[in-house]
Amino acid sequence: MTDLYQSQRAMRNMRRAAMQRGVIAILDIGTFKIACLVLRFDGPGRLGEQDSVGPMAGQSSFRVIGAATTRSRGVRFGEIDAMPETERAVRTAVQAAQKMANVRVDHVIACFAGARPRSYGLVGECQVQDRVVSEQDVARALSACDVPDIGEGREVLHAHPVNFALDYRTGLGDPRGQVGARLACDMHMLSVDAAAVQTLLLCINRCDLEVAGIASSAYVGGIASLVEDEQELGAACIDMGGGSTGLSVFIKKHMIYAESVRIGGDHVTSDISKGLQVPLSTAERIKTRHGGVHATGMDDREMIEIGGDSGDWDKDRRSVSRAELIGIMRPRVEEILEEVRAQLDAAGFDSLPSQQIVLTGGGSQIPGLDGLAAKILGQRVRLGRPLRVQGLPQAATGPAFSGAVGLCLFAAHPQDEWWDFDIPADRYPARSLKRAVKWFKDNW
């Protein structure tokens, strides 16, 4: 645990160093595409940052100066499957973005969708030492949280203090400086497979880049595509990616739950490929150009040329109606949404005051998806696009880039995490000191 704490702290320091240098790269490693954005930070923006969440939450302080997207390779379910392939894809994206930005980037903040995220709610409390809550008290309350057994080979990816309570007063955002005797905190912890994260870090390191931060794409997708009141009142962001569908629930501007469903757009493509007996690239093209989830009478008459290069005239001349295509796609999309529904029910999404659902990610561009989602997830569904940030090319403003844009916001203005607070003095390992004393005793 302390090891991870140190490595996360090291990443935070790296991020600070990168901010001082003024250039940082964003790397969204997805199953379908790898996007790289190069951000330039030039001091506080025009709007300034008076409080913890400034008028633009730090968005005005950076500018996207380079953007590149490449087809992802060697990634399955948002996890790295073939490292050399992924490394090449990362290199392609980073090189193109560097070329556009005309600067060299050394620090990168990455996000990924897979690695089986699992959420935990933690509670910890401690006595306030000096009647006034100080940073140390917050740190002690956070470290007093009893960590559940997260399992073998899993690591903590995010640990956000969500809520503070001070002597029966709860719902405090920031207790520092307030007077009280007993400080309790609720923390949301997200754990992921350690091996997947380690592989990802290794892959980025092999591209001569240093990792200055790592985030879950469900989380950053939520930051980018939920508007401020949705984050405040409670909303779920469903990031429909290529290999997996991320799900994050926000309330009071904090993520309280994240999960992923390991089905995504690639499965729809493979269904089409199998059903129509076409190559995957053709299936992808047909899906993006003619795909849908609601068949109408018109769709029976709209014939789609499938094509092919088998040399068999009959096979290469096949065509299907759009209704048939929808018939292939719809069950899979329904399956994804039903899985999401099950996860939301398990998380107790019903009890949130506002139950807004925002669909984002590349998969959310299927025509008619909002209607289908409304049937499965509830009436309050909308399609979300990422926030607009300065300098972002038009090609990178679609819902497929909500992860990348969210990561920009994450880089510019990260929320407090457990490792942002210093470890309390009494928790430092006393063993090393004892050993030093013992060594002296033994030798003199």
Binding site: R91, C207, D208
Partner: protein, 293 residues
């Protein structure tokens, strides 16, 4: 439809290309490669080339040859010298002194030094040298005008109005029209002497010359061995007083040897021996009196 064996190039950069591009985007490396490295190469090439003394000497020789070739082009050659404004004797003297061998390149003639050499001659007041088109070195000389003859212990010397020596003079009669001065340091006070002579007026015909006494004052020597001793300061005024006395009373017509004006408020006359004897006799005194000399 599609060709069967399509070779699809891997869009990913190789690790080497990726690293090279990152290196190229490093600002320090860029500055080094674009500015410092070329400068270093140029310096290195020069250093290697000029490291050998032989190559340096060859280059210098080449340069010298080129320079000589240009200097000796006919456009720059001077083939004769013409002297203007000098008497034939002076012109010959200048030619003999300079002894320039013609033809010579105009780059080799140091006009300033030559001018200084010519002006070092006493008879030359100023000289003006220029190389005029056609390869002629034109020397324009302004000679010194003799204004006085100065008798020294070694002989006669001609002086110009500033007192500068012009030439030797063997025969006084050759320049009889010039006034004569004598005495040590007389050349230093030529302007004063000229002022005195200019003030002479009616006495001009009688003046034989001026004598500088003790390098501080003038004596005016008249014919009939009469002398006017002028003071150190303001001699012209004193001389004018003598002239006025002569005009009004015929002073110098008397048998007087000297008029001493050295003390301005007390002019002294010295009589000749005969006149003195006559005066003593007329006053019924002893022939030789206690009158000061």
């Amino acid at each position: 439809m599609q060709p069967v064996n399509v070779f699809r190039r891997d869009p990913a950069p190789s690790r080497m290309a990726y690293r090279m591009q990152r290196l190229w985007l490093t600002p320090l490396f860029r500055v080094f490669l674009r500015h410092i490295l070329p400068a270093l190469i140029v310096v290195l090439v020069f250093a290697v080339y000029f490291g050998s003394a032989q190559r340096r000497a060859a280059l210098v020789t080449q340069f010298d040859t080129l320079r000589t070739e240009i200097e000796h082009r006919p456009e720059f050659m001077v083939s004769m010298m013409s002297i203007e404004g000098a008497s034939p004797a002076l012109g010959d003297a200048v030619r003999a002194m300079l002894a320039i061998k013609f033809p010579q390149s105009s780059f080799d003639i140091d006009l300033e030094a030559t001018r200084a050499k010519i002006e070092a001659l006493d008879a030359v007041a100023s000289a003006d040298l220029r190389v005029v088109p056609g390869g002629v070195l034109q020397v324009t000389i302004r000679e010194r005008e003799a204004a006085m003859v100065w008798r020294t212990r070694d002989g006669l010397v001609l002086l110009d109005p500033t007192g500068h020596r012009v030439a030797e003079l063997t025969d006084r009669a050759a320049r009889a029209e010039l006034p004569l001065i004598a005495g040590d340091g007389a050349d230093q006070a030529v302007p004063e002497a000229q002022a005195i002579l200019a003030a002479a007026g009616p006495l001009a015909t009688r003046i034989r010359g001026l004598v500088r006494i003790g390098d501080r004052r003038w004596d005016v020597m008249l014919d009939r061995d009469q002398t006017i001793l002028l003071p150190e300061t303001d001699p012209v005024t004193a001389f004018e007083r003598v002239i006025a006395l002569d005009q009004s009373q015929g002073l110098l017509a008397h048998d007087i040897v000297a008029v001493d004006m050295r003390l301005p408020d007390r002019p002294v006359l010295r009589l000749s021996a005969d006149a003195f004897a006559a005066r003593q006799k007329a006053f019924g005194l002893k022939p030789t009196g206690a009158v000061s000399k």
